[in-house]
């Protein structure tokens, strides 16, 4: 499996929509064939349309707030005494996470498609919050599907969605988390695809949704590429880009512009959710060698039993609590362009404490997984190695969990 040069990764799929000949595709009911095809045609036109790009960039700049900061974590670097640790603070973006890019683009597409309604799924609640924000901004009626368990543990984001006038639909089936929210959202779209646009919250789902999301979040690495060159004059010789991976939207966007650099020069490290220590349940299909199967319309590495039933996952981080992973990451893994590893709930919590102790940064539990890996490897590396962690979400939404898990220690640090 090889990555082609001079072609965006999102376009390196075959006619049937498979990356590397086997990941992705369109495993969808007949009813969705037409709306998916319509969306494919519309997106391929819009991404080459100057006025659309202008509109997107304008909203990214003036509404989302780009570029987000690129900062050195001086204290953390000094504490760990090894590689330099930097962060791309994507949580600066309007709403507090990278999900705003995909949400904005989907709303712009929905407008062009003449749709009045937009629906989406959410795990941590960020995808839902951003979609509700963007929908309100662009005058679309919005419905968000969210697992009942996630509604309980991500209260602040649920309140934000409701404030933005979105209808939050609790999903009670299965594990009552992201996987069920995505299923329910797709089912809703099957019944309403004539009037409604669907926004899949990550680089998952049928081929076109993977592409749109990857195309949108790539804004992160476009900014970063410029910022790195400004800071260092060129791309450093030893660069490591560390990002958490759930569905894989922030990590893909964080890496995209660096895809064609030699991996010895620019290394990609994806950190999945390992779940609670000693628990067999995890949300790390790439790290722990899950089998290939179909989930939500796409072929991918996915946690499943022998029969092909999708397995429940467990993670402290709702945004990473997903049994599958983007076909793009399956491709990057098999092409050996990216390396994947996992951090446990405990690792992530420790990393959160260390980062907040030394830096004026408040990464949510998702990027805390990425920080855990950075903290682990930094002391073993030389000072000319540049580690950049994508701090892709803000921990405001996690305050209930953090308070429960860390108690007084959390209150003191905030």
């Amino acid at each position: 499996m090889k990555i082609k040069k001079n072609m965006p990764l999102i376009d390196q799929h075959n006619k049937s929509g498979f990356w590397g000949g086997k990941f992705g595709g369109n495993f969808i009911p007949e009813t969705l064939k037409k709306p998916v095809e319509d969306l494919e045609i519309l997106f391929s036109k819009l991404r080459n349309n100057k006025s659309f790009i202008f509109e997107r960039d304008n909203y990214f700049k003036n509404w989302v707030g780009s570029p987000t900061r690129f900062i050195k974590l001086e204290n953390l670097t000094n504490h760990l005494r090894g590689a330099q640790i930097w962060s791309k603070v994507v949580s600066d973006a309007n709403g507090g996470a990278h999900k705003i890019y995909n949400a904005t683009v989907h709303c712009l597409i929905a407008k062009r498609a003449g749709k009045k309604y937009i629906v989406g799924d959410t795990g941590a609640g960020y995808a839902g919050k951003m979609l509700s924000m963007a929908a309100k901004k662009f005058g679309l009626k919005c419905k968000i599907f969210m697992g009942a368990k996630d509604i309980k543990r991500q209260g602040p984001n649920v309140r934000a969605m409701k404030k933005n006038l979105a209808e939050v639909v609790p999903v009670y089936t299965g594990s009552q988390t992201l996987v069920d929210a995505v299923s329910e959202c797709m089912r809703y779209w099957v019944s309403n695809c004539d009037t409604t646009h669907m926004c899949v919250g990550s680089t998952v789902g049928p081929n076109i949704f993977v592409k749109i999301c990857g195309w949108s979040t790539s804004q992160i690495s476009r900014e970063l590429c410029i910022q790195i060159k400004e800071e260092f004059g060129k791309i450093p010789k030893k660069l490591k880009l560390i990002n958490c991976v759930g569905g894989g939207s922030s990590s893909f966007g964080f890496w995209n512009e660096f895809m064609h650099y030699d991996k010895k020069k620019v290394e990609f490290i994806g950190v999945e959710a390992g779940g609670p220590k000693k628990s067999k349940r995890h949300a790390a299909p790439l790290t722990y060698g899950s089998k290939i199967g179909v989930l939500h319309g796409a072929m991918q590495y996915v946690n499943q039993d022998k029969m092909g039933q999708i397995e429940e996952t467990k993670s402290i981080s709702a945004g990473l609590d997903y049994p599958g992973v983007s076909p793009l990451h399956c491709f990057l893994k098999d092409a050996k362009r990216a390396r994947y590893t996992a951090a446990t709930d405990e690792d992530a919590l420790k990393a959160y404490q260390l980062v907040t102790k030394y830096e004026n940064l408040n990464p949510s539990l998702e990027p805390s997984h990425a920080f855990a890996e950075a903290i682990k490897i930094a002391p073993k590396l030389s000072n000319d190695t540049i580690i950049i962690v994508n701090s892709c979400g803000d921990a405001k939404k996690d305050r209930d969990i953090l308070r429960k898990k860390l108690g007084k220690k959390y209150e003191n640090s905030n």
Binding site: I28, P35, V190, S191, G293, V294, M307
Partner: protein, 266 residues
């Protein structure tokens, strides 16, 4: 050679009624009970669809999801499903069996092994909800080689050109989804409009047996009688759920429901 599925349609046509197809989930609520249901209703139906349950179905509504989760919870495995069909086929009133489900189950079982097992068990047809045309061409051909009918799905969103191409590639039976909905939705389109689309399909090739499914109940059957066949699924799953909740025997209750359905096709 005419297949068992074709013969079932011919028989119904001779009796001047649409063929009645029922859908139940294998293993709902137990392996034993789901076999008993099939045996009990067999006399009054023409073809039985048997679902192999999946826990992340993207095309099914609440009733079938409930049945599926129940079956999975009770530990149903692929081999149990083949066992159920094998035992059912011993019934002298047994009808053609169409397995219906999602591609991941087939993929994990192994396409080849799955088709061999289907052939050996006497399965007559297959519906794979999330394997649309043209992606299903290769698999459909493999089915044909084993004399298993691959049933193509058509929906109100299927374009005219696509309709023609799919009908051309289809085997003896096609399945028209009545409306934009998951299974078990309330019929939100008039029967007249559904039949109008149905006749568009029939016009492309009148020889293909075309059934209508989604939103078919005791009440809607009389208005759609002119179709080659009608599929009732969620209404039956709902009856099983209702029976279990009321501590009644789902076998006899489903039996009674099927008699009513049959009556309305006449």
């Amino acid at each position: 050679m005419r297949t068992q599925i074709s013969l079932a349609f011919e028989k119904a046509k001779k009796e001047n009624r649409p063929a009645l197809l029922t859908y139940t989930v294998a293993g709902d609520n137990t392996k034993k009970k789901s076999l008993e249901i099939l045996n009990y209703i067999s006399k009054n139906i023409d073809i039985c669809e048997l679902g192999f349950p999946h826990n992340t179905p993207i095309g099914d509504g609440g009733e079938i999801q409930t049945s599926s989760y129940r079956a999975i919870k009770n530990g149903i495995k692929m081999n149990d499903i083949f066992q159920i069909v094998k035992k059912y086929k011993r019934n002298k009133f047994s009808k053609p069996v169409i397995l219906m489900g999602y591609y991941n189950m087939i993929y994990q079982f192994g396409e080849k092994k799955f088709l061999n097992k289907c052939k050996k068990t006497g399965i007559d047809g297959l519906i794979v909800v999330d394997l649309p045309w043209p992606e299903n061409k290769v698999f459909a051909n493999k089915c044909k080689k084993k004399s298993i009918s691959f049933i193509q799905l058509l929906s109100p969103t299927t374009s005219k050109i696509r309709l023609k191409k799919i009908v051309k590639d289809s085997h003896e039976m096609i399945y028209y989804i009545s409306m934009l909905s998951t299974t078990g939705g309330k019929l939100k389109v008039s029967p007249k409009k559904i039949l109008k689309n149905y006749y568009k399909i029939k016009k492309i090739n009148p020889k293909k047996n075309c059934v209508i499914g989604f939103g078919i109940t005791e009440k809607t059957i009389p208005k759609l009688k002119s179709a080659d066949g009608l599929v009732v699924g969620s209404a039956i799953c709902k009856e099983i759920t209702r029976s279990l909740n009321n501590r009644q025997n789902p076998v006899t209750n489903v039996g009674k429901l099927v008699i009513k359905l049959k009556k309305n096709t006449l």
